[in-house]
Amino acid sequence: MSAADVLAPAADVGGPQQPLLEVRALSKHFPVRGGMLGRAGVVRAVDDVSFSVDKGEVLGIVGESGCGKSTTARLVIGLIQPDAGSILLDGEQLGASLSLRDLRRRVQMVFQDSYASLNPRLTVEASIAFGPAVHGVSAADARARAHDLLRKVGLDPATFADRYPHELSGGQRQRVNIARALALAPRLVLLDEAVSALDKSIEAQVLNLLIDLKDDLGLTYVFISHDLNVVRFISDRVIVMYLGEVVESGPVDALWSDARHPYTRALLAAMPSLDPDNRTREAPIAGDPPNPINPPSGCRFHTRCAFAEAVCGEKSPSLFATGNERHTAACHMVDPASGHSKAGQSSHRGLEHV
């Protein structure tokens, strides 16, 4: 691989039909130490998660804290090793025909904490140039690349290249982080709560920047957030996670207008609204998420679900097609054959009062 190849945008592989990223049955269990005998159990941080990301789309991943969103992202970029499952980029399987080094050139990540994700000892320019330099680009070219990227993210290199992270504002730092993630000309960028720590006006600017960069550079995003308004704004498709599992996935419009999983509906109902007539008066779901060390049997949501029946505690639902295009939900009420009393009913009758 020559130095010039590193900075060139990667060529398309497999045509538009082939998903850019495919995640199959990915699992990660963290052993938890404690108790007298040392091992208390495992946290099923990510449990049998499958999804795919098409070229040029933005896939949103939503869910409350601890549901496995960030772990999924870290698994995809190989920062932690999965216990089971496979990751395919451009149809090549990681560990088989795709090396971790190649994966990390084509997939990059932007982290939530803009300060912790920049080395305080390096200038902005050095931080951005680090990736290309590691891949064998000459110091001068890496520097030029860094200046070019700073311009792309809206920071003047003459002013910002020699600054240290503590001399920048939060929004500027996150722009630098985006530039750093783009330094290796990746095809897929994982945005892990990338705008969550910014205040609202800066958040909007950075979101617009992300959309512009995506169009300019032909990028694909996986956008992880707990902020549903932001996810709806930027995403084409959304997957909803609960306790390490995917509970619902579908195009953003279908999900917002016709959510089938009671958890998704509760999340949507919990969204703050600017309309005073549409105020949320009571919490749509009560209580904390169950302990992920010993997740509930059957459907993991049944302990907090208003529609839970006997079948929900016994059998774990898999993702069923809802009838909408590419829209699936892991709820017994969606599967007509599940034995749930509301099974097979359209969402608008069964779940009206949620």
Binding site: T123, A126, S127, V134
Partner: protein
């Protein structure tokens, strides 16, 4: 390829990190306390190194007829010791051994302790447990007791006291190095560097060392004063330097018998130890605040 890339990374990074250290130095030079302390230490160190050219009396030849002269005696501005040797010469020459015994164990402990601690912190897991538990064993003993025990076992002598003091100071340095490295390793920029495909050695050098060496260095400078006192203590107990070699701790010991006859002269070596230790401590404090560039 990785070797080439490493060189390139170094070229790309080095000019930038130099900027940081010059900032620290500039801030340090604006702090009057640090400048004063550095001047005092430098003056004492230079005097000790250049003692042969300062036209001082011999620190070894004494005279039974002018023992324990008071401070201010003509010809003997700081008096004479119990064998009639000139105290100015004894104190200046004594700085050689005292500073050497105070600094060299800390330098050695800094090198060994940082290597062990950063390795433990960066690798984590089993390596961390193995290194840290061994260190804990040494940490369980009070430092003075450990130094005396090791020195006693090895026998008196300068090299042996350096070895024993190095062993005493490795555990605290390892602890600090390990905790700082563990803290840095979990920060997102290390993950980001891994995600850019950098190998562990490049990450260690560019992203970890630059962020951990500062705090460890500051901690090590604060150990110099303790080390000087311990080294003096060993000499005082007869486990370090041997007479007639001038060394502040040993001088304190031999002048101890004269404390009722001439307390001011007897206190002089102690005063030197005190001044140098407090200067090192204040300097390390100043360094810590100068390195916190964020403030």
């Amino acid at each position: 390829m990785s070797v080439v890339a490493d060189d390139l990374v170094r070229i790309a990074i080095v000019d930038k990190t130099r900027g940081y250290w010059s900032t620290v130095f500039r801030r340090l030079s604006r702090d009057p306390v640090s400048v004063t302390c550095a001047t005092i230490i430098l003056a004492i160190a230079l005097a000790a190194i250049l003692a042969d050219w300062l036209g001082l009396a011999s620190p070894y030849t004494g005279s039974m007829i002018r023992r324990l002269r008071w401070i201010g005696t003509p010809g003997y501005p700081l008096g004479t010791d119990e064998l009639g040797r000139d105290m100015v010469a004894r104190l200046v020459y004594g700085g050689r051994l005292s500073l050497f015994l105070g600094l060299s164990p800390v330098v050695l402990a800094f090198l060994i302790g940082t290597t062990l601690g950063v390795t433990a912190g960066y690798l984590g897991g089993f390596v961390n447990q193995a290194i840290m538990r061994v260190v804990d064993v040494f940490y369980a003993f009070p430092s003075v007791l450990l130094a005396i025990a090791i020195s006693g076992a090895l026998g008196a002598g300068i090299i042996n006291s350096i070895v024993s003091l190095t062993i005493v100071f490795i555990p605290p340095v390892v602890r600090v190095a390990e905790s700082v490295t563990t803290g840095v390793r979990t920060l997102d920029f290390v993950d980001a560097a891994r995600a850019s495909g950098a190998g562990p050695i490049t990450i260690m050098r560019v992203h970890v060392l630059g962020n951990v060496l500062g705090p460890i260095f500051v901690y090590a400078t604060s150990l110099i004063s303790v080390c000087m006192i311990l080294a003096s203590g060993l000499s005082f107990l007869g486990l370090g330097t041997k007479p007639p070699e001038p060394e502040w701790g040993l001088m304190l010991n031999t002048l101890r018998t004269a404390i009722y006859v001439n307390p001011w002269v007897a206190a002089l070596p102690g005063a030197m130890i005190f001044i140098v230790s407090i200067c090192f401590n204040l300097l390390s404090d100043g360094m810590r605040s100068a390195m916190d560039v964020r403030s």
